[in-house]
Symmetry: C2
DNA sequence: CTGTATGCAAAATCTTTGCAGCCTG
DNA sequence: CAGGCTGCAAAGATTTTGCATACAG
């Protein structure tokens, strides 16, 4: 199993919480999960786990490069699988849906801008906030800033 | 005074805390301030103010469109003056310095991307994280994710 | 005067840490 | 069997809310 290898290569012991958490992300049903989301999902599976463990595991996964930690405007962190391919986010403020995209042109300009200012870029986050087609149809108003 | 008008137009009474907070941002010495930054600055000015008031005022200013509320990777919110001109951020993870930029090409692509997906865009945030020239010279390593 | 705004303290969130015992390798 | 891992509870950090009093208009 590929999950096992990923854990071992990070020097992490294979435990029930780690396995289940990683599986949750790899299933891909919901790509962006907060610590609390994960907690609730595991409890629903009758897995006896503490929130503290979730936070510790998510942090370790992020440090190991297995997951990314994102901060949308929500005030709390959400995690998503690192699938190699970098991408940016399009967040619907109506229903919370998160869409992903990549744009080569934008990536290039970012590097140019950083270079012009003498910055060595090691990460970037582009998030677009809007109302998706369904929410527009339902006339759900843009969330206030 | 222009500050007074801005407050009155938002239907907010002109009080010492509001005046001082708005002045802090308009002075522009530091463009991005957290609630706690503002609190400390006001205390240093011998102004008797509570943290709760700062949060309330910052929130009201953000709702009135006077300030923007940003979430960089720090886990807490920072505010900056709404100077009309939209811009994005280049954050140094070494010293915390925040640089600003605008790129017409990126703006255009963002709108196209949103349109392609049926989103009505009402906001976006692009933050580049890197190491600035000075920190690179001092060999300050990129902060871990 | 009237309704807002404020300071203080308590509560609510989200996240991290300490600790004794459990489990993987 | 040793060291890492876990759950629980407590502590931290940031932000919000309740309430009586103070102040702007």
């Amino acid at each position: 199993m590929d999950i096992l290898r990923e854990l071992r290569e990070s020097g992490l012991k294979v435990t029930i919480p780690r396995l289940r958490i990683l599986q949750l992300f790899q299933e891909g049903t919901i790509k962006h999960l907060s610590a609390d989301d994960v907690y609730k999902l595991l409890l629903a599976e009758k897995i006896d786990v503490g929130l503290a463990t979730i936070y510790r595991v998510l942090m370790q996964f992020a440090e190991a490069g297995i997951l990314f930690r994102r901060h949308f405007e929500s005030g709390h962190a959400v995690f998503e699988l690192n699938e190699g391919q970098h991408h940016d986010h399009l967040v619907c403020t109506g229903c919370g849906k998160v869409d992903e995209f990549v744009d080569e042109g934008i990536e290039l300009r970012q590097n140019e801008i950083a270079a012009e200012r003498g910055f060595v870029l090691h990460e970037h986050a582009l998030s677009l906030y809007g109302t998706c087609a369904e929410c527009t149809a339902k006339k759900i108003p843009p969330r206030r800033a």
